[in-house]
Amino acid sequence: MNTILVAVMVLGATALVLAGVLFVVSKKFAVKEDPRVGQVAEVLPQANCGGCGFPGCAGFADACVKAGSLDGLLCPVGGQAVMTQVAEILGLSAGAAEPKVAVVRCNGTCEHRPRTVVYDGAVSCKIAHATGCGETGCAYGCLGCGDCVKACQFDAIRMNPETGLPEVDADKCTACGACVKACPRMIIELRNKGRNGRRMVVLCVNKDKGALTRKACEVGCIGCSKCQKVCPFEAITIANNLAYIDYEKCKLCRKCEDECPQHSIVAVNFPVRKPKPAPEAEAPKAAEAPKATEAPEATQKS
């Protein structure tokens, strides 16, 4: 009986003393955190994808609270809606952010780009890239091992077994940029989604001279600069035998698409053109078959 009593008293006293110590320490060394950090963190999607450029959502919340204005701060996953909420909490105005989407700038499908050798090493684009120019003659195009698919946290990018190329689901893509970093050939680019999801893209990153490009791929950009000449808005630049359309300047007039002899320039999500000579209609069909022919709303995955 006595032993139990002593034990209870000793442990009780120890507990009381330690509780006192803990209380004092918690008061004395308390870290004052802006309560708004917690509030901001709550409205963030908590995907911790790092797409904003900060280490996780907590890091981004902290940066938002500390920053004087929200210019240049954007949660690509939550997009404009979340940024408006964040702005409300902080009493700031959210910068206008154009929603973006990842675009795979390669159209070297099995049809367009003949396979000349077989790669049988580890299934990784990075390793395939280090081993050689890949299964086709194109040293710049998609290797098709799916590093971008593995990198995507949002299930927004899938390999299409028919084309051998990755396809981005624009509805799921949050433009976090993980796939851009994963691609060893820098094929994927974040571009403005554009009005109604319409965009004009050069689906090629081949920097070889025209003759070599043409040999490797039917739809490779040869840098002929015809598109540059026809563009009324100076949106197209040619560098290293390759055309690039600046999405900020492009007004979606589609003149370049008609001009491109290689059909490397593709119009995405435009309605089907009224009957006109066949060649123009072919290019978008081959590129994004399910999307180009249907209205953007109809692309929901089951």
Partner: protein
């Protein structure tokens, strides 16, 4: 019998072309010289389209200290400076020369007469080696003059000649020793003189008893050169393994290099090239190449001018078999599958191996069963299964802590893996990435 301490494997030797006399190859119609045939900065072309060149004319200057000049192996006219797919699998700049006749530079001594005396000073020997564009002929292609210039504070104690040829199939070095033993020994003594040492070793694996006997007999005249027979074990031809096997010293982890234990290692082919360059004024523009493969009609050792397309060598050895699955540049362990047969022979091309379709199929990759065979086989005492995983998960920091930079990429781990895991692919990726990170860090300092 001596060998290195840890790890190693013994793949089937398949030395199909052993004992085949070295035969000179016919000249190609057009020779192609990629500008980066060596480790270090690419060479800089010093000829232009339309220039006439002779055999032995310099066509590209070294692009830095760690770099090597390139010499024409043919006489003719420079057709163009364009690009060609080389062993790296990418298009690289190269000089194309249309062959006209076979006219040599007058300075080259083409007589077969053996000259053993050389009055040159060590520095002059190194300069001559540098001016001949000599690089390590074993396959890594490290410029030889750099190896012969020990960094300040280190002192060479011995020269070790790598005549191991531990790669299966290859017999180029073996045959060279049988046909040019005296020239090789003079080359070795030149190398010893260049780095100012009095001791030289030639390590030969004991699957070449004829070469060991012949070299021993000829080396009797050279009391400072010792022939060391070694137990057959891959990768004995690795620099660090060879030093361990021959003189029993272990090279510390990178950034330490073999000179840290007083050893300068050179390939036997390099020793022969040094003889020709220093004594005969002949720059490096031809080498012995083994063309081999189980389905090939006539595996051979061919004395080939650089720039000859591999397809010509294959033709000379009986033509491309129908069931060829892969064309490997180099040996089966460390060589690389090539994109096509038009890849030109370069300074480091020790062999062309044609694998049949059945041989070249990779086994189906399965899960790691933690059998630790790769750990036992690794000659550097690493844990390949772990390094491969770290590469897969991009954990570069931990990979560096696990000494990934000591990996010599010998491929023993992949060879021994019962689950057919592509261990070396991932390790090489991690090693290259970590190497880049380290270089960047050193630049900032």
């Amino acid at each position: 019998m001596k060998t290195f301490r840890i790890g190693g494997v013994h793949p089937a030797e398949n030395k199909l072309s052993a004992g085949k006399k070295i035969e000179p190859m016919a000249l190609p119609k057009q020779a192609v010289f990629p500008l980066s045939q060596h480790i270090g900065a690419p060479a800089v072309a010093c000829v232009a389209k339309g220039d006439m060149v002779k055999v032995g004319t310099k066509i590209a200057d070294a692009g830095g200290f760690v770099s090597a000049a390139i010499f024409s192996s043919v006489s003719g006219k420079v057709a163009k400076i364009d690009s060609i797919i080389d062993a790296s699998g990418y298009r690289k700049p190269a000089i194309f020369i249309d062959v006209i006749g076979d006219e040599w530079e007058e300075i080259i001594d083409r007589s077969e007469e053996l000259v053993t005396e050389c009055a040159l000073e060590p520095a002059e020997i190194v300069a001559k080696i540098k001016d001949a564009g000599i690089v390590g002929m074993g396959g890594a292609c490290f410029p030889t003059h750099v190896k012969l210039t020990p960094p300040p504070g280190s002192k060479a104690e011995c020269v070790i000649i790598n005549a191991v040829e531990c790669e299966p199939y290859l017999t180029a070095d073996h045959q060279l020793m049988l046909e040019k033993p005296e020239q090789i020994l003079v080359g070795v003594s030149l190398l010893m003189k260049a780095v100012n040492v009095t001791k030289g070793y030639i390590g030969i694996e004991n699957n070449k008893p004829d070469a060991i006997a012949l070299m021993k007999e000829k080396a009797a005249k050279y009391p400072n050169i010792e022939i060391v027979p070694l137990k057959v074990q891959y990768p004995q031809g690795g620099e660090k393994q060879l030093i361990d096997a021959v003189i029993g010293r272990q090279v510390p982890n990178p950034p330490a290099i073999p000179i840290a234990v007083g050893a300068v290692v050179q390939n036997v082919g390099t020793a022969y090239a040094v003889y020709e360059a220093v004594i005969k004024n002949k720059p490096l523009f031809e080498r012995v190449v083994t063309v081999t493969g189980k389905a090939l009609a006539n595996p051979s050792n061919l004395l080939t001018r650089m720039g000859t397309p591999m397809s010509m060598l294959i033709e000379a050895a009986g033509g491309m078999p129908e069931n060829t699955g892969k064309i490997i540049g180099g040996g089966p362990m460390m060589g690389k599958a090539l994109l096509n047969a038009e890849v030109p022979i370069c300074k480091g091309s020790s062999g062309v191996l044609l694998m049949t379709e059945e041989e070249s199929v990779r086994g189906k990759e399965q899960n790691c069963i933690r059998c630790a065979k790769c750990v036992g086989a690794c000659p550097m005492g690493l844990e390949p299964y772990l390094l491969a995983k770290l590469g897969e998960y991009s954990d570069w920091e931990r990979a560096e802590n696990e000494d990934i930079m000591t990996c010599i990429e010998c491929g023993c781990c992949t060879f021994t893996c019962p689950s057919n895991r592509p261990l070396l692919d991932w390790i090489r990726l991690a090693k290259n990435t970590v190497g880049g990170i380290i270089r960047e860090r050193n630049m900032k300092k």
